[in-house]
Amino acid sequence: MTRVYISRDMASVALGADDVARAFEAAGCEVVRTGSRGLFSIEPLVEVENEGQRIGFGPVGPADVATVLDGSHKARLGNVADLPFFAGQQRFTFARCGIIDPLSLQDYAEHDGWRGLDAARAMPPQAVVDAVKASGLRGRGGAGFPTGVKWQTVLEAASDAKFIVCNADEGDSGTFADRMLMEGDPFCLIEGMAIAGHAVGAGHGYIYIRSEYPFAIAAMQEAIALSAARIAPFTLEVRVGAGAYVCGEETALLDSIEGKRGQVRAKPPLPALQGLFGQPTVINNVLSLAAVPFILAEGAEAYATIGFGRSRGTMPVQLAGNVKHGGLYEIGFGITLGELVNAIGGGTASGRPVRAVQVGGPLGAYFPPGMFDLPFDYEAFAQAGGLIGHAGITVFDDSVDMAHMARFAMEFCAVESCGKCTPCRIGSTRGVEVMDRIIAARDSAPAVPAERHWEGYLQKALHSRTPDRIDTGLEAQTTLLRDLCDTMKYGSLCALGGFTPYPVLSALDHFPEDFGAPAPIKEAAE
């Protein structure tokens, strides 16, 4: 019987993988449902096993069974790992994804699974924490805080109840690495959390997954059940979010797990000292925890040799938006933005010139092609007025209106604001209004004030109420926008309000012409 491998990843399924799998089953094949390899332009991908070799075909439709099985299908890819998109990657975290049956303990063990956990459990906790420190691993959720340092704090905190919390509330547009890993290699995350549990002395962990990820939720729940004995006495459970973006913020996430309204907590106290239910808590992103088994299995040095500057190891970069080869690309830090967008992503899917890329989700900065030599590195991006965030890259072609993108950023913040702190609660709504006035002024239609709904003599008479005192001109509104961004950036309680100015100000700085101002003088480098 012929064995074929077809992804069960949500993205693959969306592209028709289930129908393809059924067709191969109907043809008498043994179908192994794997995770996705991460290149969506070749999905649905079918890999046919032949004498230990896997020959890939993709994209494939349900009608293509015969041509795939006889090898004549025109989308024959050969060994998928040899494709340029994969050959250049350094897959530490995603090594098994797309290759194994995600819910097969046997597959997992045969592909180096549990080696990290076994190694960790043979060491004292401090040695595990030291290894994570030595690897240089930094929080992959966006903040880039050294993971080992966080663990050290929790290890040293005195308490008989500590927790490991995995933040799988992957809500940024253009990001999908967490989901792909949970669907494609859930045991890897489980192993990482069990190692963390051993390292800091925590007995129980929570994986907080957004409700929009039903496949990931199911995969994790099943994987937890299957591996319960392997990770015991450490225990795990899945908690499902309720659709609030802000619950991706770690302290709001903790509130949400506790059953409260998801609102950002002021720090200190750090969650590492008083986190979930007031107990010392490791809270890490999926990718941070999933990087840990490799570090323990292969040694910190193996991880730390890869990278750039203070950014060590690999980053699973996600290419999305208007890009030809969208997908997940795991690579050591240091690769330039231009290489990622043009060489690997293949430029825009529309074929038009790239005008802007947004890095780090809806709160990340927009970069023009003039900045494509920027190396992928936490510090370099911060210096350039941006952030790596969760390493999602969204590509836009020259039809994009950057003023509308700035407005979108404010609107996103207004919709997702928890409402706790004032700069975010009121500022984001005012930001949308300011952008509307800027766009109106730019489009040279005079700004039309909204209908007054005030009533009563006294209120009308109040001098400071009169609307025409506001200067709705471009210059005044742009100044106000910058002041508002300043208030939000430095005044907000959490990253939602604090980072919203990144897309807004980067759009304004790099694309002033979209805000009715003169275009910047192009640099000689062009």
């Binding site: 002021a266 409402g419 609660r425 009121i426 709504t429 006294l458 209120q459 609307p467 300043d486 309680l493």
Partner: protein, 948 residues
């Protein structure tokens, strides 16, 4: 005294660690306790950082972002409220950059706030207004045409405060105050982002929500969003006087905020050591009775209770009173008259009334309303520990790990203390509730009792002995403590007694109705759960075994070593504001002030010397004995200050018969109460707002009552007693209550150090305060019991003679409710009626169904003593076989039903156990109709034209 708002340091004090930290704030070196926020540290050094969401009675929140500061070496601008100080930190609270950021935030606030300051009730008392000025906001460049939360409807449903959401800045102070301070969790923020709104419960209005009107949210609100109706009506106050609440025994300190002579609001005082800045609906809002039109302001007399009252001058009223008392004594003997002191009046006034009786009447016929509430506490704790008072201060509860509540309903009876207790329970302390009813504490937001033992009314002693049985037989007692602090032989005798098999939880299960396993688990928790504190109320004392129950409680505390330090102890929750003080002041017929027996020659000698007369060495009559003697014709005159025995004492028919048999009943009160229907002289009383003095709360804390306005009736109560005394020839010369306190101090060893100058300096003192304890005594029995060795007393369970049977198959127990107070004389004359306009009979659905009773039906409630009618409330809060009602309304007269069974040692009435029958009825009983008619007649006041 001019009006200034209390200083708000922004965040609560740090949890004491004993360590301190030195840092620099605006160039000045500052040393503060570790854990203090930058904001508080700055405020304490006199530098105020702008703030809106921070207030020092709730934890920091960090939402307003006005309090940002610069910290050298740190990125960004940390919020000073949420950032703790650290060693060597260099903080700048003012800079151009900070000014810019704060202005930016304020500009956003004001872009969504009405600019109607001039017509706003908070004008001049608004933190938003103040902070806008502080940050120098001059322009709002966003204009007012954008999205807004203004123009929302006001919620005016609460009788005491308005909620105007248009003015809300979503700082969550109200929500946090409701959660953290009050612990009711009635408020929430609904929606998110720009649509975030404060909402009572599930989008209800305030009145129909779970809100208990404690006022914490109103106090916390920095704007006019939550405002007292009185402020809306009158305007902001212009002066404030700190005084003590005249409701329950918690003894909350308030600022009486005045506009001229008009009281605008009562605001809990943050420095109040009993309440720590918190309040309840009664103290905070229900003070309108003080100016109620029902108040009687002129003295009145009448020859017979059939006649209408006749207003007379003070001189005539006083002379008449003195003459009548002298006449009766001349005719019937020295011991034919007596008096009752008031637990609502000050210590000084109470002391004077008992002095009038002892010195002027020449007998010991003085009693007080503690007779009917906490007299068993006095007896029981004096016998076991040596002192008639609770062992702890209220703060002690914050150190308790296990809290045992028996026969008390703190969330209704002592709400401000209950909030502290709930706070401790939310921090993780375990709770045991022993009560026939499922009181709110058993399960409320974020609180659940580890064990609720819903025992049958009247079985307290059996239950407590069963707990002791478990502790002794499972060897959970603290042998070291017992050997050190008690008499081991007495313990051994007691231990043998409680260990007998018939006292095991299994053996008494048929009596108490509580599962033995649950009793065992509760006993283990109490004995082994760390610091264990017992809080109890009238559900312990008002039984025929009240004194035994108090002693059984004391036994448990001693056996487990839970006496003599913070977090433990035996804590009676006192009912009335000054019931502790009234007892301390010698209001009992057998004791002088400080609980010293009248037969003690040395003590009596001191008083005789001070007062210049010979004093009676024999105990006098207790209230029920006075009434018996009256019906027998040997007791003919009584002076009753501030108590309504007709409504509050048991077996109303018996009380009425006694009063009717007297020749001169003098009632001094604010209102023509029910007792006054039988009175011949009515002397108008003054409220706590109209006089100086002191109250002593349940934690033995002596606190000042300060005059905020002149007495409407012309005299403070102590002055009236002095007039009566002098008319009887006593020649008293008090110009101010402080002189009375000096006399108390001179004659009472436990009060020797209590003087007004000390009280002004310390704020309050907890007795004993004397040379041995110059700063007072927050916790008693630390190094040894007052009586020397703690005494274990064998407490046998003697069932009450009040028994259910075919005619009276149900057990009635009585109690009170949050919004009303005692006989309701005060609260019924306030808007608190909105919550509890009538007494209802709580009955279990099964008992109601058997009788065909629907919720709200009129039912007749009948006992061996009498019958009344009221409406039914069907609830599972009471167990099958038990019914419950309150006694706040004279139309109901629940005490028509209660019997004259009483505590064996103190005659404290058995209010908590009456066998009754309940049946459907058509409305008020004949007796109620007759009584209403008689009350109307006896309250007639004759027109005054003749006096002209």
């Amino acid at each position: 005294m001019s009006y200034t708002r209390e200083t708000d340091h922004g965040t609560p004090p740090a949890i004491a660690t004993g360590k301190s930290v030195t840092l620099t704030i605006d160039g000045e070196a500052v040393t503060m306790p570790e854990g203090t926020s930058i904001m508080r540290a700055a405020s304490l050094t006199g530098c105020s950082i702008p703030k809106l969401c921070a207030t020092d009675n709730v934890e920091s929140f960090g939402s307003c972002r006005l309090c940002l500061v610069e910290v050298e070496g740190r990125n960004g601008y940390p919020a000073s409220c949420t950032t703790p100080i650290s060693e060597g930190m260099v903080v700048r609270t003012q800079s151009e950059r900070l000014k810019q950021l704060r202005r930016g935030v304020m500009e956003l606030y004001i872009s969504d706030h009405p600019l109607d300051c001039l017509t706003c009730p908070a004008n001049g008392d608004c933190e938003l207004q103040e902070q806008a000025g502080a940050v120098g906001l001059r322009d709002v460049r966003y204009g007012y045409d954008g999205a807004t939360n203004m123009g929302q409807a006001k919620d005016q449903s609460n009788p005491y405060f308005d909620f105007d959401p248009s003015k809300c800045i979503v700082c969550s102070r109200c929500v946090r105050a409701c959660d953290e301070v009050q612990g009711t969790f009635a408020l929430t923020i609904e929606g998110r982002g720009f649509d975030s709104k404060v909402s009572p419960s599930q989008g209800q209005d305030f009145l129909s929500s779970e809100c208990v009107s404690c006022g914490a949210c109103v106090q916390a609100c920095p704007t006019a969003t939550l405002t007292e109706k009185k402020v809306v009506e009158v305007g902001t106050p212009d002066r404030a006087v700190v005084t003590t609440c005249a409701y329950c025994g918690v003894g909350c300190t308030f600022r009486a905020e005045m506009r001229g002579e008009e009281l605008v609001r009562m605001v809990p005082w943050k420095d109040g050591k009993a309440n720590r800045g918190h309040s309840c609906v009664k103290g905070r809002f229900a003070w309108g009775y003080a100016q109620h039109r029902d108040r009687i302001l002129h003295p009145m007399i009448r020859a017979s209770v059939d006649e209408p009252w006749r207003e007379v001058s003070w001189e005539d009223a006083i002379a008449h009173t003195a003459n009548e008392f002298r006449r009766i004594q001349a005719k019937y003997g020295t011991r034919s008259i007596g008096g009752i002191t008031s637990s609502r009046c000050t210590n000084e006034e109470t002391f004077l009334v008992q002095k009038l009786i002892r010195q002027g009447f020449g007998n010991n016929n003085v009693d007080t309303c503690a007779r009917v509430c906490h007299s068993p506490t006095g007896y029981g704790l004096k016998t076991t520990f040596g002192t008639s008072a609770g062992t702890q201060d209220f703060d002690s509860v914050m150190d308790a790990d296990v809290i045992l509540v028996i026969g008390a309903n703190p969330t209704d009876g002592h709400p401000v203390f209950a909030s502290r207790m709930k706070k401790r329970l939310r921090q993780g302390a375990k709770l045991i509730v022993i009560d026939p009813r499922r009181i709110d504490l058993v399960k409320s937001p974020h609180i659940e009792a580890a064990h609720h033992l819903p025992l049958r009314p009247g079985t307290n002693v059996a239950m407590l002995t069963a707990l002791a049985h478990v502790i002794v037989t499972e060897k959970l007692y603290d042998e070291a403590f017992i050997r050190d602090r008690c008499d081991w032989d007495e313990f051994a005798e007691w231990a043998d007694f409680v260990s007998e098999p018939q006292r095991s939880p299994e053996a008494v299960e048929p009596l108490t109705g509580v599962k033995a396993e649950e009793v065992r688990a509760a006993a283990r928790l109490y004995a082994t759960g760390g610091n264990a504190a017992i809080y109890y109320g009238l559900g312990v004392t008002e039984h025929s075994q009240g004194s035994s129950t108090v002693m059984a409680i004391a036994n448990l505390a001693m056996a487990t070593g839970n006496v003599g330090r913070e977090g433990v102890g035996v804590n009676p929750l006192r009912g009335q504001n000054n019931v502790q003080g009234a007892c301390d002041m010698g209001s009992f017929p057998h004791e002088f002030s400080g609980y010293r027996h009248v037969s003690d020659d040395a003590v009596r000698g001191q008083f005789e010397q001070a007062w210049g007369v010979a004093l009676d060495a024999e105990p006098g009559l207790r209230i029920p004995n006075m009434l018996d003697a009256a019906t027998d014709g040997t007791f003919k005159g009584i002076f009753i200050q501030g108590e309504d025995i007709l409504q509050s004492d048991p077996n109303t028919h018996h009380v009425a018969a006694g009063l009717a048999a007297m020749e001169c009943v003098v009632v001094q009160d604010l209102f023509l109460n029910e007792t006054a229907n039988y009175a011949h002289v009515f002397l108008p009383g003054s409220t706590f707002l109209e006089k100086d003095g002191t109250f002593t709360n349940a934690e033995r804390r002596i606190q000042r009552v300060r005059k905020v306005m002149a007495p409407l009736n012309g005299y403070a109560d102590w002055e009236i007693v002095q007039l009566v005394a002098n008319a009887m020839g006593l020649n008293w010369r008090y110009d101010h209550p402080s002189q009375i306190m000096d006399e108390i101090a001179a004659l009472t060893p436990t009060f020797a150090g209590v003087h007004y100058d000390r009280l002004e300096a310390e704020g309050s003192l907890q007795w004993p305060a004397n040379d041995a304890a110059p700063d007072g005594t927050p916790t008693m029995h630390i190094d040894g019991f007052v009586r020397g060795k703690g005494k274990f007393v064998v407490t046998d369970y003697i069932p009450t003679d009040e028994k259910t049977g075919p005619r009276f198959p149900l057990l009635l127990t009585t109690g009170r409710i949050l919004s009303q107070y005692n006989v309701g004389a005060q609260t019924r004359r306030t808007a608190n009626e909105a919550w509890h306009p009538e007494d209802r009979l709580e009955i279990h659905p099964a008992d109601a169904e058997n009788r065909g009773i629907n919720d709200g039906d009129w039912v007749s409630l009948k006992s061996r003593a009498g019958e009344t009618s009221l409406r039914a409330l069907i609830t599972e809060r009471v167990a099958p076989g038990v019914v419950y009602t309150t006694f706040h309304h004279p139309d109901t007269q629940a005490n028509v039903i209660t019997t004259d069974y009483s505590d064996w040692a103190t005659n404290c009435p058995e209010y908590k156990v009456t066998a009754v029958q309940v049946m459907r009825s058509n409305g008020p009983s004949d007796w109620q109709r007759d009584y209403a008619q008689q009350a109307r007649l006896s309250r007639r006041i004759a027109p005054v034209e003749a006096a002209e």
